[in-house]
């Protein structure tokens, strides 16, 4: 087996471990940090089920962003919806036989790739064109967009410009999953694509990509409006009560 195959295999194992452990750690941290007060953004649902719907609307169609700014919303939806389809399309590299619905997704996955890149370019352009957004952007915000755009463009290139040996690629991917390493094709575009994906997975838990778990843990959106009915008390705050009980 070539050094290249080994290096990429190790990189991917490393990336998966960092991603899983890192995100699990962050989720654990969000989960265990108490919420001292009830701070749902009103009007808020009065039941848990209602909160489920509220979060679903935020995650599925970015309800608040829609209220806020139609341009950002359009680009964000293009990017995120595109990304979801593209990821689903990529499942074919990791399943044998390929699941039925993954087969169905394939043609959409292609358009989704373009949508994703278009969304990213739109969001990126705003960082230059809109003075308010230029002001709040730091280097890492640009680099994150560069990373995602490069991943998208290199992926599309393999479909339309520099096709790669996807049979061999699939063997490599399945080998990764089955811990039975198979040679990785050494096309530069593929190597770039895969290297950047590994990098993305590694930076995930240390970057603003934490908005993915964060959206579920935001107290202003995930709390039920029931403060008068149910007493909400954080453990550290309960101690104050016993110190000064009237």
């Amino acid at each position: 087996m070539s050094g290249l195959t080994l290096a990429y295999a190790l990189a991917f194992y490393f990336a998966v471990v960092v991603l899983v452990v890192g995100v699990a750690f962050k989720i654990g941290q969000f989960w265990t940090t108490p919420t001292p007060l009830k701070i749902p953004l009103m009007p808020a649902p009065m039941t848990r089920k209602g909160v489920g719907f509220r979060l679903a609307r935020e995650v599925i169609y970015f309800e608040s962003l829609f209220k806020s700014n139609k341009w950002i919303w359009i680009f964000a939806v293009l990017f995120h919806a595109g990304l979801v389809l593209v990821v689903l399309r990529h499942l074919r590299y990791f399943t044998e036989p390929v699941w039925f619905w993954v087969v169905l997704v394939q043609p959409f996955g292609i358009y989704a790739g373009f949508a994703m890149v278009a969304g990213l370019l739109g969001l990126w352009a705003r960082r230059f064109v809109v003075d308010r957004i230029r002001y709040i952007s730091s280097l890492s915000d640009h680099l994150m967009l560069a990373l995602l755009t490069l991943i998208g463009v290199s992926g599309l290139m393999m479909k339309y410009v520099a096709r790669t040996d996807i049979i061999a690629l699939k063997a490599f991917c399945l080998g990764l999953v089955r811990f039975d390493l198979q040679p990785l094709p050494s096309d530069p575009v593929l190597l770039l694509h895969m290297g950047l994906v590994a990098l993305l997975m590694i930076v995930f838990p240390f970057s603003k990509l934490l908005h993915v778990p964060g959206v579920f843990f935001s107290p202003s959106r995930n709390q039920v409006d029931d403060a008068r009915e149910k007493r909400h008390l954080a453990p550290w705050a309960a101690k104050l009560d016993t110190q000064s009980k009237i």
Partner: protein
Amino acid sequence: MAKTPEFEIPPFRTELENPALVEGAMAHCQPFIAAPEHNTDLGFPGELVDNWEMKAVEKLGDLLNKNRALRVYLDSCVKCGACTDKCHYFIGTGDPKNMPVARQDLLRSVYRRYFTLAGKIAPGLVGAKDMTKDVLDDWYKYFHQCSQCRRCAVFCPYGIDTAEISMAARDIMDHIGLGTKYNNEILGKVHKIGNNLGLPENALINTMEGLEEDVEDETGITVRFPVDKKGADVLLVTPSADFFAEPHVDGLIGYAKVFHQAGINWTVSSHASEAANFAMFIGSYEQMHKVAQRIRQAALDLGVKRVIFGECGHAWRVAYSFLNTLAGPWDFLDPKYPKPQHILEVTYDLIQRGAINLDASANDDKVLTFHDSCNVARATRMGDVEGGQFIIPREVIKASVNKFVDMNPDTTHEKTFCCGGGGGLLTDDLMELRIKGALPRMEALKDVVDNHGVTHMAAICAICKSQFAKVMPYYGFPMDMIVSVHQLVSDAILLGTKE
């Protein structure tokens, strides 16, 4: 007529376009720093402590472990910019640091530097900053140019609430000895005397007796204004401005008439003669807890069955959302009623049941609009349906006045704009900020005045009322255009028709 200030009153915008960015436009603006005794009265260090850099970072770490909101908000912002044009202080000043995300970044940059891997190894890349004097100066200025109104959070895809971040920053600053005179002095008065204004017990009793006489002179009917009446059914907790400020006091007269007419046996307490809890503004749970305990104490001492809050925005947030947490459980109160209840819920319910009679033609000289107070709108509810905080005040107004017009929907309900004076900023040393921050509300008001003949704007918050009375003249509106909702009720109620 208002004095001419040394700064420009922002002109009304024609297309509601965003202001051009003017870096440092409000860098000269900050509230007076607290004198040492104002801080030490609350248990904070009197002056900036020696190793304040370290202490500030330590306190931030403490808060990160105590408050999930802070942690999630600091981690989750993607800098999408959706919130950037949603803050009234940004709209009124054009200072980029008044864009909500930029305000958050003042704290986030320090969080990143000391608490995240990326900020520790590559600070320049992710905008991480050391805790320096420059950073602290920016904190003091710009975290006191946020009225904690939560408008930005409505528009953020993750509900990131800059109010939470401002509160945390102010808490940190208090812990290193850098407090504001306005807030900390007032909190000291609450602890010592029982209300924000430092109005002592006998003055309170005199005032209430005076109001009793006024109402009797005017209507010929004896409407009681009881203080510390043991065995009353209802404890009314209302902002102390209601005892004498205009137009607040007309609201208090309205509550008293409603109670009188409905035969409700009520009292105020001299021990807890203040609904506002300024500890929320400085982000201190401990102080908020201490202030809230006064209300519990008063309710127990007077043996009341219900607790009702007067018209006050932040007070209603602390009452509705926090009181059960801070001073509950309220199991000694009558379970038939919400604990606590808002005066508007009480009045609305009485109107629904026909227990009070209102003659709306008494207000036929007025055309009303309604300013949703930010904290009532986005941090509380009234009644038992989602959004009741929007419905109930409007229904009470409509029962008391025949002509009512809502302002531009982008400036009401959950999208309402802060009056410009909330969140512990209602002080003369921040006059420029207050005037500029009122711009979006003044524009919406101008629109209904010009196009619908609106003559008055009703509010349900002591801060809104004081703020508008002060800043409206700068925008060409008379100060008495702002009224209490219960002032309208007071004018319309038919006393003596139900005994």
